[in-house]
Amino acid sequence: MTSCGFGEAARTMITEPHPPAQKQDSASPPSPWEFVRLADYRVPNPVGATAAFEKWASLKRIFRHPANPEPPPVKAEADLRALPKSRLRHLAGPIDWRCAASALDAALAGWPQSGGSDEAVKFVIGQPHCGHAEILEHWAARHRALLVEAPAVDRILGDHGHWLESWSATDRLWVLPHLEHCYLRHADGLELVRRLLERATSGALGRGVIACDSWAWTYLQRVWPLPQPDALTLQAFDGPRLSRFLAELVAGAGQGRLQFRNATTGKEVRLELAPADGAVSPEINHLAIHSGGNIGTAWSFWRSSLRAAPAQVEDAQEKSGEQAHGAEADADVVWVSTELREPVLPREGGEAMAFLLHGLLLHNGLPEFVLPELQPQPGHRLVACLLELRSLGAVILDGERWRVSASAYGVVREFLRARGFLRDHFLRG
């Protein structure tokens, strides 16, 4: 469990099912979670040598062959092993989106209670893997709002009147966490979302919050141009925010005497709860820049970069049976690999692969059975392409939906950007 940067009271607060909103403790460091207007989103900027390094890494990606995806590890890292799962779970457990829900509460600042003439609907836009749906679900629970599920695929493609009618019968505050699942990029798949947005923005559906994936949001601007200057998004996790987030993640695991060290240089990677501007470890700054401020991908890279010396692994495995939570594990040095392991997409992957990946991002994941309706390739080729992408680590099957994986998101975005595909506006290029 992590705190939300709202002081000790808030740390207790988030364990309650429907905790009340708390004011920030002036003595505590600021929360890394913050919701801002889309125009105020700031991508962490690489400067000087870091910028050159990022460009060089990007250039290498273009010419790298998937059969040889990574250069051999440096000697110091070759001896290290991946952390045991139990230890990894405690050092870098799942992101607690309730902290972000608190930040959303602060950003909306009493809007749910005001019944005035301001906007009937608020929009929250989230990048892939930034948990916009989970945040909204927590927020809905906190405000006892009606959680509206996205319609089934057949409803989107045809019988959508019933879905809208049944919803509009209520006066409760509502939350729609998956606008991206309310349309399909199909000639018959846009009518529902047009009617939905028209009714929602006119106030016919009452007051509510709509969350939408950033790629779907960009696409929907073409479908139903919707000027929403007040739409909110999670502020990018730059170096200081990321350092604080990771420090909270570790602190929440109850680890004592823990040290993170760069596996190449041996220098300590400091995770600060209140880092000064210049005090953030270069490894954390690099991670923030590389992930473009996307907390989901940063967290994924962080997890995959943690290593232990072989003796530590054996020790931890022995202890895992005895200590269910591993909080007192005495292996107190965790090595941080400097290599960010990303899938390499085949250069000759071509059009079919690009279309498939673009389709998955535009809908924030799609069920397999609907893919032939949306793609120009036949079903068997789509399945083959999906399996190839899964073997590369570029896509994952999440429930019934295929999604672009967090570790591949940056690579896939660059793959599509280079080919001129429509993309969201959250990163450079």
Binding site: R185, H186, L190, R222, E351, L374, R419, G420
Partner: protein, 264 residues
């Protein structure tokens, strides 16, 4: 009178041959390198890179010519005028078309009437420019046929360039419908057909042009694919999905005799 030719000994011959060999190697290497690099890039960057090939080749040729001429001819104004005058006269009579093509090739590179990656139509032949040579431009037709067209066509024939150095070009899908239908609905459906195509380049407009004809209604759906090389697949995608979307709404298509009348 000064001597026109330099002492052309074995060393000079070797030097000339060496310059020619290096120039040839450089031209081949540059063209291969640019083609290879272009294979890794997409869109505007790819087209810029491909368009550089003839320019670089011209530069290498001019540089090698400037190096060779002083080895053969004493570089005085009198000698140069005499030499180029003689060469020009010979070329004008014996190799008129060849020389015309060479000059037109230089003009084509300078005016950029067509560049590698452009889609052009010359005398009814349509295809992608794959190589702008010294004498000819080579295009690859949609039927995978290589056609070499002499640059001298540039002087008299119209050359239609569909994309003019840009990655995008406009594609048109035609729909011939029975006149008894709601035109506004059909127009909206066709807009959505384009808007939902995976090939679509979203920054360009989608337009639907409607013409009422004696035999029915002719719709022209115009949109731009992401890459000009996708144009035929894009048009096919629009046609296939457009027909399906219209059929689902019960719109009837114009019958064959009526369309035949149109063709006539």
């Amino acid at each position: 009178m000064t001597q026109m030719f330099s002492a052309f000994d074995t060393a000079a011959v070797v030097e000339v041959l060496l310059i020619l060999a290096v120039a040839t190697l450089l031209i081949v290497a540059v063209q291969k390198l640019l083609q290879w690099l272009a294979g890794y890039l997409h869109g505007q960057k790819r087209l810029y890179l491909l368009a550089m090939a003839p320019l670089l080749r011209l530069g290498i040729l001019v540089a090698s010519l400037l190096m060779i001429v002083p080895l053969i001819v004493e570089p005085s104004l009198q000698n140069m005028v005499a030499l180029f005058g003689s060469v020009g006269l010979a070329a004008g009579f014996a190799l008129k078309d060849y020389a015309s093509s060479l000059i037109a090739g230089i003009v084509a590179v300078g005016e950029r009437s067509y560049r590698n990656g452009d889609w052009i139509e010359v005398n009814g032949i349509y295809g992608e420019v794959t190589h702008v040579g010294m004498r000819t431009v080579r295009i690859l037709t949609p039927d995978d046929t290589q056609v070499s067209i002499p640059h001298l066509r540039l002087w008299n024939d119209p050359i239609a360039n569909a994309n003019g150095g840009r990655p995008q070009l406009q594609c048109v899908a035609d729909f011939f419908l029975d006149p008894a239908h709601d035109a506004a609905t059909v127009k909206a459906v066709l807009q959505d057909v384009a808007l939902t195509s995976p090939f679509l380049h979203y920054l360009e407009p989608i337009t639907v042009i409607v013409h009422e004809r004696p035999w029915g209604t002719h719709y022209r759906l115009k949109a731009y694919p992401i890459d000009a090389r996708q144009q035929f697949r894009f048009t096919t995608d629009l046609t296939v999905r457009g027909k399906a979307a219209l059929a689902r709404r019960g719109v009837r298509f114009a019958s064959a005799p009526a369309v035949a009348a149109l063709q006539a």
